[in-house]
Amino acid sequence: MKLDELQRRFAQALHDAAAAQALFGASAHGASAYANNTLFNRADALAEAYPIVRQLVGDDFFGGMARAYARATPSRSGDLNRYGDGFAEFIRDFPPAQDIPFLADAARLDWLCHLAYYAEDNPPFDLPRLASVPAEQHGSLHFQLAPSVSLLRSPWPVASLWLAHQPEGGDFPSPDQGGEMALAWRNPHNRVQVRRLMPADHAFLAACARQLPLAEALECAMDEDMEFDFGLSLQQWLHDQVIVDFNESPST
């Protein structure tokens, strides 16, 4: 039997007793060990990647939902830390989860934090290099966000919800207190953080993510809030390694 055919039949045999019997003979009962490993390895990976969702629904409900996703959704990589990027959409459509309407957005933020945890390292911002750029050229600079940075806009208070689940606490938000914009990233101490953003801050960082030059990014922020204090926000983003570099032309 050709190897590719054998491996396709092996995959089928994980869920098909007759196929297992044909391929494995007297050892066919062992096939269930692989089916079990595959299912639980995926579910365990989801439990690691979605800690807030798991706390919101409890381990039993989470396990059932994770296994339902794992049965329906193939893994594509030998690295299980890359498994689970569609879990939020699955939760949105998962009938038993409809009692918690903000669960899918909590999952979105969990996934962005998971990506931030494993994102590539980056060198710190080169302040002397920025100081050497003449002031009249600042408007055409393209600020670069750290590889760990993600932005999320939600109709639910997702940033406050995330913060309420951290050891240092934070008040548990009322789900109907209104939407939030969240920033997820990894700080200089390698800790994943979430911060609630004001609309102007969100507009500025989203413009940077779209590779707009500083002058246009500032316009986006001012459209949201004429009082936007760019100097103060920039200082914080440089300190927290949210913005980590700049280019004189858009990066590809």
């Binding site: 062992g30 990589s77 980056n122 390698n190």
Partner: protein, 276 residues
């Protein structure tokens, strides 16, 4: 030699123990980790760099699926290579297995048939992988829960031939031989006898668990069984002193318990008259 690991007992280091290892620097000759947990950057990699500063390190991959008929995952190999460049490990290793079809990755160590065609294919894939990684791999024998109708070559001879033709070293997992003997009736001692003396670069020992129907599961979830300690003595008598690694992946006990168990492996090496 396929590795520069010390001829001494090492311990499989899992993320829950890494902080304690950095803080207490226990007396272990070397550590081995799964590279997939350190792909990308961030806290895990930063912690592993600190471990690497104090100990020889082995990167033991579980996700490459070298024998997958669809071919190698170039992205996965590139991330493995990046980690090798970042950490300069004393050894790199993977498994004699496959894990993917064109549609799906199974994130498990699935057995290949021990056939001439599978051997040819593995030699080819291993050659490509070693070219990308820039150095030879150690390849580990699998625990398997099924025999395949295509199996024709005894396990030990398959591994010996794979090493001879691809230039890879062998990572001899004694618990896997023991589990296969129970599950599939393959003789562990026959496998030991079939392996060429120079090919083996590392030994693994671990524990397994019994399923209700009598199948033994290679969970690395218990201490090493006495029969595997006996196999260790037999293997060291045949191959001479080698790096010996204790693996524990599930039901993780306190680090101190694993250090204690690692010292028993060191004692087995010491009986040969070897010092780390």
């Amino acid at each position: 030699m396929h590795t520069s690991l010390p001829l001494a007992a090492g311990l499989g280091l899992r993320l829950p123990h890494i902080r304690e290892v950095i803080d207490s620097r226990p007396a272990v000759a070397w550590f081995e980790v799964h590279p997939e947990n350190y792909f990308g950057g961030g806290a895990n990699l930063a912690a592993l760099r600190r471990v690497r500063a104090d100990y020889p390190l082995s990167l033991h991959g579980v996700g490459m699926g070298l024998g997958s008929a669809v071919g190698l995952d170039a992205g996965h190999l590139a991330r493995f290579r990046d980690l090798i460049d970042a950490l300069e490990p004393a050894s790199i290793s993977e498994h004699l297995c496959w894990n993917r079809t064109g549609e799906e990755c199974y994130n498990d160590l699935l057995p290949l048939p021990y056939s001439a065609a599978a051997l040819d294919f593995m030699v080819e894939q291993l050659g490509r992988a070693q070219d990308v990684l820039g150095r030879p791999l150690l390849i580990e024998n699998l625990s398997s829960y099924v025999s395949l109708v295509d199996d024709a070559i005894p396990e030990g001879e398959f591994l010996a031939e794979l090493s001879r033709r691809s230039g890879c070293g062998l990572l001899l997992d004694l618990n896997n031989l023991h589990v296969n003997e129970h599950n599939l009736g393959r003789s562990a001692h026959a496998a030991l006898a079939a392996l060429p003396l120079q090919a083996v670069g590392e030994i693994h020992i671990a524990g397994f668990e019994e399923r209700d129907d009598g199948l033994w599961l290679d969970t690395h979830g218990t201490p090493v069984r006495e029969a595997v300690w006996d196999l260790l003595d037999a293997a060291l008598a045949r191959f001479g002193p080698l790096p010996v690694l204790l693996e524990r992946d599930t039901k993780l006990p306190p680090l101190a318990d694993l250090l204690q168990e690692t010292s028993r492996a060191q004692a087995a090496l010491d009986r040969l008259g070897v010092r780390p």
